[in-house]
């Protein structure tokens, strides 16, 4: 990944564009942080989790990752804080807490 490709948003000017507006890397949107949209964050309680995976299945933002041990973890780089994972969890293992200003 070159420095040039990492530029997005306001840092990105027309000179950074490939000729013909070509996008050269599949899935490169994964470079974009969408976690900074969030006003609340999901906290997963491992004690209550039964590894059913429903949070993973229903997250619109691919922000829940499967861990080696079968549990799930939120990926705060992408999580937009919608709260869908907390709603679909049948064990009430996910709670949403307010984000605080940094």
């Amino acid at each position: 990944m070159t420095e040039k490709r990492l530029k997005t948003g306001p840092d990105f000017i027309w000179r950074d564009m490939e000729v013909g507006n070509i996008v050269t890397e599949a899935g490169s949107a994964a470079l974009r942080r969408t976690g900074d949209w969030r006003s609340q964050r999901p906290i997963i309680d491992k004690e209550r989790c039964n590894k059913c995976g429903l949070c993973w299945l229903y997250c619109p933002d691919v922000a829940i990752k499967l861990l080696e041990d079968g549990y799930y973890e939120t990926d705060l780089f992408y999580c937009k804080g919608c709260g869908i994972c907390a709603k679909v969890c049948t064990r009430e293992a996910i709670t949403m807490i307010e984000e605080e200003e940094e």
């Binding site: 997005t8 942080r33 922000a63 919608c82």
Partner: protein
């Protein structure tokens, strides 16, 4: 992409993501989830032609893209024509030996505006010529990407920016155009309705639609918190309520034969679906009763079609 699967009872769902994270769909977008699941069903051997709309805009912010499969942006009015050309082109290249024979699914993706209004003519032509393709309509019931303008798929009574509710209007004054039935009328081998609140059903239908020889159409109900004005965590509930009230029944039509995939002995009252959504907040009891009556009628018609093919 590691080709692993997660097991949900008898259903296996791939961990491969063909639409990368970092996309810009709104917080809690049901259309984003529907797309994620549909692409899991299709796998990597696809070419996607995608009309303008939330899906196109949110997955292709220059200089990056979310797509990990071949994808092309189309205009509203030519998605059907473009996917026809892609399919015909692949066929001829393979016939002439210019590329190896293999199964590549040609898939068109568009919103309700791009399908039931603007793209209808090209789509009808593609159905009629019997191209081997799958058309996915992601129905969030308005032109959402440009700011909630009404389409012919907007339901009766919904407030939009171009048909706002107020003293003199209830908002949308026409009933939702039934796009799935229009597809059925083209006598194509496979038509289905789906909703991301029923992920395995959605995945099965998209898979089936991709495998069928000839045209296939899947109409996907895609709850939109921004346009429907409900809290961001409710997409799954709203989708379930649409199905359980009979407002959006889940069915398949295979070679003209109807089958209901979810059939509750008793439908829930439409009010339960309408109440949580800001776009219906202004509706009075009389209007709600009118919607209930319409849903009952439409559901009875659908049941009668299913009954024709029972046993």
């Amino acid at each position: 992409m590691d080709g692993k699967f997660i097991k949900f009872g008898k259903n296996l769902v791939t961990t491969d993501e063909f639409v990368a994270e970092g996309h810009s769909f709104c917080v809690g977008c049901g259309e984003a989830l529907a797309l994620r699941l549909a692409c899991k069903a299709l796998g990597k051997d696809v070419i996607i032609a995608n009309a303008t709309g939330c899906i196109e805009i949110c997955t292709s912010p220059l200089p990056v893209t979310s797509w990990r499969v071949p994808w092309i942006h189309t205009l509203f009015e030519n998605t059907g024509a473009e996917i026809s050309g892609i399919e015909a082109g692949l066929k001829i290249l393979m016939k002439k030996g210019k590329m190896p024979e293999r199964d590549i699914k040609c898939v068109a993706v568009a919103g309700d505006g791009g399908t039931s209004d603007i793209g209808m003519q090209a789509l009808s032509g593609a159905f009629e010529r019997k191209h081997d393709f799958l058309y996915l309509c992601f129905d969030n019931e308005a032109y959402m990407n440009t700011g909630i303008q009404r389409s012919s798929a907007t339901p009766y009574g919904a407030s939009t920016t171009t048909a706002p509710a107020g003293k003199l209007s209830i908002g949308q004054t026409t009933w939702k155009k039934n796009m799935a039935e229009i597809a059925v009328a083209h006598d194509i081998p496979y038509v289905a309705t789906a909703c991301p609140s029923y992920p395995f059903d959605l995945i099965n239908k998209v898979k089936k639609g991709g495998e069928v020889k000839g045209p296939a159409y899947v109409h996907i109900f895609s709850p939109c918190p921004t346009g429907w004005r409900y809290p961001t965590d409710l997409a799954i509930e709203i989708g379930r309520l649409a199905v359980e009230t009979g407002i959006f029944p889940l069915y398949e039509v295979e070679n003209g034969r109807y089958k209901l995939n979810i059939d509750r002995p008793k439908l829930r009252p439409v009010e339960e679906y309408l109440k949580p959504q800001g776009r219906f907040r202004h509706l009075l009891d009389g209007e709600i009763a009118k919607i209930q009556e319409h849903v009952n009628e439409e559901y009875a018609k659908l049941k009668a079609k299913v009954a024709c093919f029972a046993a």
